[in-house]
Symmetry: C2
Subunit: 134 residues, 2 copies
């Protein structure tokens, strides 16, 4: 843990971007941010915990929706300023109900939606919905 933290370059807010990738399919599911506490908790529990910039607190992914991410492996890049989380994703990663947050693509110069929701925000968060927490 100390060896890991010594090799990480957090930004001025004490955060580092983390990519969640489905370890079975290779699909990139989402990008969020982690601070030291989020990394420590994730490694200790094996359940991915991010830091919510909008709520300014730890964000235990799936705490409300049940769509948790089990950590399979944590990797860091050459500069130590990005994390790659290989995960087993329960259900969907995106608060819109889609498997991946990257459901829009530029095709023929237009921004188009390339994936449909597998569930609804209401089913995930109840009637009042919830912010994505990024």
């Amino acid at each position: 843990m100390n060896a890991l933290l010594e090799n990480l370059a957090f930004n001025e807010a004490g955060l580092i971007p983390a990519i969640a990738q489905d370890q079975k399919t290779g699909e990139v599911l989402m990008v969020a941010w982690m601070n030291r506490d989020a990394i420590a908790e994730t490694l200790a529990t094996g359940q991915v915990c991010y830091y919510s910039r909008s709520r300014s607190k730890l964000w235990r992914k799936g705490e409300t929706s049940g769509q948790v991410q089990k950590l399979v492996e944590l990797r860091i890049d050459c500069d130590g300023d990005s994390l790659l989380l290989l995960v087993d994703q329960t259900g969907v990663a995106c608060h819109t109900g889609r498997r991946s947050c990257f459901f829009r693509a530029v095709r023929d110069g237009e921004l188009v939606t390339i994936a449909n929701p597998e569930t609804t925000p209401e089913a995930l968060y109840g009637k009042h919905g919830a912010k994505s927490g990024h």
Copy 2:
């Protein structure tokens, strides 16, 4: 292009993180940053161009090393604050000579190297080497 830019949330420095993923293997190759000009150039040329935070200028990936990235598709996430670039990578993505920048992983509590270089920085950049440009 305008539709894309209108849906993007750049940070206070006018940048947005971009993940490069090998479109054939699904491997996450690297994370870097783009500004509006880098996105425009990438879409116009089909060759990935980032913004180098250390050099404060556009960074045409592979310009020195020849290890270019051909853009296959640009995707954006639900919040519009991250980009996913599906690319065809020529050679290696990492300035260390490895295919991916994510060549270190936490295993059994230790940070270990899990991939070997396929070439050398000297072969990529000449005797004087070069910074990664992130």
